[in-house]
């Protein structure tokens, strides 16, 4: 089926060229980082994880959100999602691929990455994260490919694929839970040390991922003959709305516990992120934008007039996606390091190369996504014509 990605319009090839250019720029920056060391990034002794790990965390959520179309279709026989399950699965493939690349970009000794397999360490959450992410990647490629192949041949998917689909559903939850455990089990990092981190991760993932999927469906509708359908999109909107509201609820719970208990360690990072701590508030503008965008998006999702029109729906999805990306892709990881265990406040500014590598990985993810969607949609278009 891969050959379907090799034929396309000029617009398709133009987009591929843009992505390849970003990938090349990212690769060049990575060569620089590889030769110099991670000191080329903005990270420091106090803020020892930066945008790479933050993007990784955010994208695990996008990957997990694929389950939001798989679950209703396969467990509840919600036929409307039948058309777009493949889009959810392939989005997960692209997202997990980006996660793995971001981890690799963040390693000080990338050539030793396989030490994780050579010296398996079950007491490290990173070991389990490595397992769940790779298995999830495999499950989604495998299920997506087999089901699409059956669709191409116009036969029902083979029965033996069912167990893989059923496993992939709890597995999606597991990837984001284990990723939350990376943070939630560390003593002395109060901002992360909260039992609600995993559910909060899942809620924001199930809002942000499907919001991205809605956007992708709207774009696809314009550039191909494939239409996900009003009903499927509106059902996704319902999922996004509930998940976004639950996410807001969880964030407010964090605020309550921190400020009502009045325990300094619990308040410090929230202070730093939203109000500024000891006069330092590098991330305050970001977090305020995130808050405002989130609120506007939720209102737009709740008002029937704005959620039913495609243009306003697209705006709402973009706003929500940006809001959640800032929250998790910037605030959560970087904020967790401030203040440091020695109560220092250290600012973090990603370097030029760091940003280029980040964009390069995103471009790689979109490249994978484009190719996979091209294949899937070509199959679907062929069927529509015949």
């Amino acid at each position: 089926m891969l050959e379907k990605a090799l034929t396309g319009s000029n617009r398709y090839w133009g987009w591929i060229a843009v992505l390849l250019a970003f990938m090349a720029a990212g690769a060049l920056s990575y060569v620089q980082q590889y030769n110099y060391g991670l000191g080329l990034t903005g990270m420091s002794r106090d803020v020892s994880w930066g945008v790479y790990i933050a993007q990784f965390t955010f994208l695990v959520g996008v990957a997990a959100s694929g389950v939001m179309v798989v679950l209703p279709y396969y467990l509840h026989n919600y036929k409307t999602f039948g058309k777009i399950t493949i889009l959810g699965e392939f989005l997960a493939v692209a997202a997990v691929s980006m996660c793995l690349l971001f981890i690799l970009a963040d390693l000080g000794q990338p050539l030793r990455a396989l030490n994780v397999l050579l010296h398996p360490t079950p007491n490290s959450i990173l070991f389990w994260d490595m397992i769940v992410l790779n298995v999830y990647l495999f499950l989604n490629i495998f299920v997506g490919w087999v089901v699409l192949n059956a669709e191409k041949k116009e036969v029902a998917p083979p029965k033996w694929i069912k167990p893989f689909i059923y496993i992939s559903i709890p597995w999606a939850v597991s990837i984001h839970t284990v990723t939350a455990f990376l943070y939630a089990g560390l003593p002395g990092r109060h901002f992360w040390l909260t039992a609600i981190l995993a559910p909060r991760f899942l809620a924001s993932a199930f809002a942000g991922g499907p919001a991205l999927l809605i956007l992708l469906c709207l774009i696809i509708k314009r550039v191909t003959k494939f239409d996900a359908g009003q009903e499927a999109i509106q059902k996704l909107v319902t999922i996004v709305t509930y998940a976004a509201l639950i996410n807001v609820f969880f964030v407010l719970l964090e605020f309550f516990t921190a400020y009502y208990s009045n325990i300094p360690g619990h308040m410090h990072t929230l202070d730093y992120l939203f109000f500024g701590l000891h006069g330092q508030g590098q991330l305050v503008p970001w977090m305020r934008v995130s808050t405002i965008f989130g609120i506007i998006a939720i209102v737009m999702f709740l008002v029937p007039a704005t959620r039913k029109r495609e243009d306003t729906l697209a705006i709402a999805c973009v706003l929500l996606f940006i809001s959640l990306w800032i929250d998790k892709g910037i605030g959560l990881v970087i904020g967790g390091f401030v203040p440091s265990p020695l109560e220092e406040i250290t600012a973090y500014h990603p370097s030029f190369q760091e940003i280029m590598i980040t964009l390069g990985v995103w471009a790689t993810g979109f490249f994978i996504l484009t190719v996979l969607y091209k294949i899937a949609l070509s199959v679907k278009e062929e069927k529509m014509i015949s």
Partner: protein, 272 residues
Amino acid sequence: MDIKRRQFLKIAGLSTIAGLGAPAAFNLLLKGESSPVSFASSGAGAEVSHDAAPTGVRLGMVVDQRVFDANQGLAQKCITACHLVHNVPNFGNPKDEIKWIFGVPYEKAFPTMSHYHRDEHLHNSRFLVFCNHCDNPPCVRACPTKATFKRKDGIVAMDYHRCIGCRFCMAACPYGMRSFNWRDPRPFIDKATYNKEFPTRMRGVVEKCNFCVERLVKGLQPACVEACGSSGAMVFGDLNDSHSEISKVLKENFTIQRKASLGTLPSVFYIV
């Protein structure tokens, strides 16, 4: 033809999976090294077993702040001694900084114990902080390759050859005692004072205080303790040996530990 090819691929695929998975599984089952580690309790057993070590040695340190307060400049002597003997580079900027032992004010060393109206001498004191060599080290629990591990004598050690530079241990350490080699450290080590008997590190690995493991085997005291001379500002020894000097000091003085409430069981004690 087609079916044969399919069958061949199936068999090839399955044997590849078996071939890749089996050695790892066998290693896990057969080798004592990676015997299933419980992750509920200490997690410190990544390298050694969970039971108390047969020899029962648990090395630890007492820092007597009264002596440091009385001897201005002594702390700096300890820091210099350590950083010279271990070839710790000096980058001259906080971003790349690597430090094994350094001085911080009371409220930074003991943020959970700061309070109003504390002793006057605490306002100007600078406490020496370094790896606590916890009995229950969160960094060891977090490390995905056992590059950091707890030795039988209680020292939390680093295997620089194995470290992949993921910096999970830095996030896990509640004391901020770990440093990362953001760039090649060699050009930032003073040639004149370079210690030929101790290796440098490479870029991309994490490092920290090692309780002078390389000096202990030669029967020497840790470099910082030695730098204190006979002042008694730092006492090093076996916490489990009731006749050791450190046990005596601990019995006779009220000591505090950094963030003891986290349950990491630090092996470093402070007399304030």
